[in-house]
């Protein structure tokens, strides 16, 4: 008996129309929205950066005053970190992980939808505040007391603190969704040592999120309470301490860099493998490196605080940790080089972006080693040298792999390939523009230009390098514009893509491009790391799953380590309640900027919406009972 594709499509499709759009729970619909939203915030953050670069292009420039400039860099940093870099990686995972592990759906699709809406509302709140001239202005790191009740006047820092609440709630929920999907919904036979490396990367990232994000949520909650109800956490005059903020913020903030970077490493492993036409060299070493990076990243936070009053001995420990974390990254870089060296290269745009990574990220990594050293850090800390470093790391380590990933998976998302010619222009303009924009900043930092200055006087002699940097920034803007043009035109007129246009080996390429609503009409059984390259099935061994319901949503749950079949599980149907719950949550979060009572009264609609979300309908239960089979009871 073969599966009924049409019936499966009817069963799994999101409902039509605007109401259906609000009720969507398909991880692919949510994933695409998530990616597009994150890209829009990337563009918004980029435009803010372009405005800053225009202001800094000339000394003593009057284009932007200090008040707006402080909002610009705060918005830029907050957007790029909280609304783009972290969410976009989660977004890619929301779309790709269920496909890569061979699942019909993501675990907790409604929670996943809720997480998206919360993220969207948080981002919109921030930009509405910015356009109403109450954009946060104390930096993306929001140090107290500058952001505290005494010096951070008005509501600006409150919007920042609530942005954190929105994005962290969203990020934490997505992490639970991803971990559970990876642990419990893998195709039968996909043991942990057959996980694609991107899935490993997202597993590590999601665990890091669970333990790092609570720190900034707690810190920002204390901040908003100091501002709103008069707590004294950060007020030295009443027994509080300003450095407490820095510990809590960086205990999150440094792992955060790695949960942007590690998914990028995951993309690279996928790209390099496919375009070298061979599996990545050293899979176990790659996995261990990802895990080691995750652990070590929690031991670095104090290197953001070398200039404060932290004790000397502590500093040496953090220097050692900051240098040691380079080793797992080095392992991966060498393994990729080995893969490229012994592979046969299909030089397409995704691979170009991967190669760009090597040049840029290695520079960023080396300047990172330099920043880990206490004496060197004391000189370049909080100067443009650090601005250069962090963009080399984040753009080289995350954005280049991400653009490569977009070119790579675009045919899977849309069914059409992106243009190669524009892709190459996109790459080269980005690569050249990036280096022109950010290389000079190293020199500016050494010449003493501090970060976060709205202008500088001509006598400082920083004008020429700043002008060059601005030209580079505009080149990047042009390359991103080319990307948008390429994506939009390819969406309509791109070459139609087959299921597996790049000849890749992982499961997402086993299904149509774009995939049907149920992901896999024939649910696969896996016996190899690259199932499409090396089926490796002994004769007589099962190749596909049968017996899951086709007229109702049902997924197969498998065991943690070996992915042996465990039970069938009903997967929830579309519902608008996650959307309404997110609306209610957003009302409470925004309301609490103005009055603490919003937390009390705002909880009531949330509770109602969440109960409505959870409460099973008679029809659903009837259907479920038809298919019910009890597990063996103890």
């Amino acid at each position: 008996m073969t599966a009924d594709a049409a019936l499966l499509e009817r069963t799994w499709a999101d409902r039509p129309g605007f109401a259906g759009w609000l009720a969507a729970v398909d991880h692919k619909s949510i994933g695409k929205r998530f990616i597009v939203t994150a890209f829009c915030f990337f563009v918004a953050g980029g435009l803010l950066a372009a405005l800053m670069r225009a202001q800094l292009a000339r000394p003593d420039n009057k284009l932007v005053g200090p008040d707006l400039y402080n909002q610009l860099f705060t918005m830029h940093g907050s957007t790029m970190m909280f609304l783009f870099a972290v969410p976009v990686m989660e977004a890619m995972a929301v779309y790709l992980v269920p496909l890569m592990v061979g699942a019909r759906a993501i675990a907790f699709p409604r929670m996943n939808a809720y997480a998206y809406w919360i993220y969207l509302f948080g981002g919109l709140m921030l930009y509405v505040a910015f356009f109403l001239k109450v954009g946060p202005d104390a930096g993306w790191f929001s140090y107290v007391p500058l952001a505290g009740p005494e010096y951070g006047v008005g509501k600006r820092s409150d919007f920042w603190a609530q942005l954190i609440t929105f994005t962290e709630v969203s990020g934490l929920l997505v992490s639970i969704v991803i971990i559970t999907t990876i642990f419990k919904l893998r195709a039968p036979g996909m043991t942990l040592d057959r996980l694609p490396l991107f899935v490993w990367a997202m597993l590590v990232t999601s665990f890091m999120v669970l333990f790092a994000m609570p720190s900034v949520m707690l810190a920002s909650t204390m901040l908003i309470m100091d501002r709103l109800v008069g707590t004294q956490f950060y007020n030295p005059a009443a027994g509080g301490d300003a450095i407490l903020w820095q510990h809590l913020f960086w205990f999150f903030g440094h792992p955060e860099v790695y949960f942007i970077f590690i998914p990028g490493l995951g993309f690279l492993s996928m790209l390099i493998s496919t375009f070298s036409r061979r599996p990545v060299f050293g899979y176990p070493a790659m996995v261990l490196s990802l895990v080691a990076t995750g652990f070590l990243s929690f031991g670095l936070w104090v290197h953001h605080m070398f200039a404060t009053n932290v004790p000397e001995l502590g500093k040496s420990f953090f220097t050692a940790m900051s240098m040691m974390i380079a080793i797992p990254s080095a392992v991966q870089i060498f393994c990729w080089l080995a893969t490229l060296l012994t592979g046969r290269l299909n030089m397409k745009t995704p691979l170009l972006f991967a190669l760009g990574f090597f040049f840029i990220l290695v520079i960023g990594g080396l300047t990172g080693v330099l920043l880990g050293s206490v004496p060197l850090d004391l000189q370049v800390h909080d100067t443009y040298f650090v601005v250069a470093h962090l963009h080399y790391v984040l753009i080289g380590g995350a954005v280049f792999p991400l653009f490569g990933a977009w070119y790579y998976w675009f045919p899977k998302f849309t069914g059409r390939l992106m243009g190669e010619r524009l892709g190459r222009w996109n790459f080269w303009l980005f690569f050249v523009g990036f280096n022109v924009a950010f290389w000079p900043m190293h020199h500016l930092g050494l010449q003493g230009m501090p970060r976060r200055v709205y202008t500088y006087s001509a006598e400082m002699g920083w004008g020429t390098l700043n002008l060059i940097s601005t030209l580079g920034a505009f080149t990047i803007a042009a390359s991103v514009l080319l990307f948008v043009i390429n994506a939009v035109t390819s969406l309509r007129r791109g070459t139609p893509a087959s299921a597996n246009p790049w000849g890749a080996g992982t499961l997402e390429w086993a299904t149509a491009s774009p995939p049907p609503s149920c992901n896999f009409v024939e649910l696969p059984v896996v016996r190899a790391r690259d199932p499409l390259w090396d089926p490796a099935a002994e004769p007589g061994s099962p190749r596909r799953v049968q017996g899951l319901a086709e007229d109702t949503r049902e997924v197969l749950v498998t065991t943690l380590m070996e992915a042996r079949p465990d039970h069938r599980m009903a997967s929830p149907a579309p519902t608008p309640w996650p959307f309404w719950s997110a609306v209610a949550t957003a009302v409470m979060f925004v309301g609490s900027i103005f009055t603490p009572w919003a937390v009390v009264w705002g909880s009531i609609p949330i509770a109602i919406a969440v109960i409505a979300w959870f409460w099973p309908t008679r029809a659903e239960t009837r259907k479920s009972l038809e298919r019910e089979k009890q597990p063996a009871l103890p």
């Binding site: 200039a307 080995a338 800390h381």
Partner: protein, 323 residues
């Protein structure tokens, strides 16, 4: 930067910055070598590896056959990286020790308090009559260690004179300190390095390092209270100062003005800059600053003083007597 103040982390004028510059060049050399090696490997890979198309069958032979050469190469590269990192770690810790071990005997003690957006400077001494205050300009004798205690009156700032040493934060509720020594006479620009609000960009100061005798002469002059103005115009200026809003924030030692909210002006005319390194200290700039500080430094805490021409002239004339 006004005049010829130096501002460059790689142009050391003291032992600490000097140690850091040595560590810097060692690190840059190692990093450059590593970068060159990785790029060379990448270029070799791109040149050597044959080209393929998406349709070409993948090479999965590595799944069943070990790749000992690759394994050895990767292991060697990782080991080399680890060794180089150890070298850097040892060098870094050694440099850190060297920086921290500046001998403190006979050190000059200075207390610096950060304000939005200027620096209060207090020269401490066991003898009370040798104590004095100034702002935004720190003079130090060449060759003598200086211990700077750092406090903040409002938000976090960071004290940074790149030619002499790295940064140290000024944290409300805590006292931190940094030790310096200038070995070459010169004027070294310093700057707040921690974002501190609207005028973070123009929160600068200068460290003037001069031979001990010259320094002592300067300090002696700074210890004297302000002289009584001799001419009528300056006398009128002083009356304006004492009867207007100026004295609510500023101090002039030897007069009734003793507020500490804003820079101490006892010897303001002897300083090279105005408004924490924003403007050169000329009578014209001083007059413009008094009229409308927001023009040169939007957000500065000093209000505008729309004085008429003769009053403004008198006030400036008085302040210009405060040498």
């Amino acid at each position: 930067m006004i005049g010829h103040a130096l501002h460059d982390a790689l142009d050391a004028a003291g032992p600490q910055a000097g140690h850091i510059v040595h560590l810097w060049w060692l690190t840059v050399a190692i990093c450059t070598a590593v970068f060159a090696a990785v790029m060379a490997a990448l270029v070799v890979a791109l040149k050597r590896a044959p080209r393929a198309q998406a349709g070409d069958p993948p090479d999965v032979s590595s799944l069943t056959r070990a790749e000992p050469t690759l394994f050895r190469a990767v292991t060697a590269a990782v080991a080399a990286s680890a060794v180089l990192l150890m070298v850097l770690l040892v060098a870094s810790i050694a440099t850190d020790r060297a920086i921290a071990s500046l001998p403190g005997e006979g050190a000059l003690h200075i207390e610096v308090t950060g304000h939005q957006w200027w620096w209060a400077v207090h020269y401490d001494d066991a003898q009370l009559d040798r104590v004095f205050d100034t702002a935004n300009e720190i003079h130090v004798p060449v060759g003598r260690p200086v211990i700077v205690s750092l406090e903040s009156a409002d938000v976090i700032h960071s004290f940074w004179v790149p030619n002499l040493h790295g940064k140290k934060d000024l944290i409300p509720g805590h006292t931190t300190s940094i030790s310096l020594r200038a070995d070459k006479p010169g004027i070294y620009r310093g700057q707040c390095a921690e974002f501190c609000g609207l005028q973070h960009a123009f929160m600068a100061f200068e460290v003037v390092a001069s031979p001990p005798a010259e320094y002592e002469a300067w300090a002696q002059a700074q210890r004297r209270p302000a002289a009584e103005p001799s001419d009528a115009q300056a006398q009128h200026g002083k009356e304006l100062f004492m009867s207007g809003t100026c004295m609510l924030c500023h101090a002039i030692d030897g007069t009734t003005a003793g507020a500490r909210m804003a820079p101490n002006l006892t010897h303001v005319a002897s300083r090279r800059t105005l408004a924490a390194g924003t403007l050169e200290n000329t009578p014209q700039n001083l007059a413009a600053w008094i009229l409308d500080p927001q023009k040169a430094k939007p957000g500065a805490q000093m209000p505008a003083h729309p004085l008429d021409g003769s009053d403004l002239g008198a006030l400036v004339a008085y302040l210009e007597t405060l040498k």
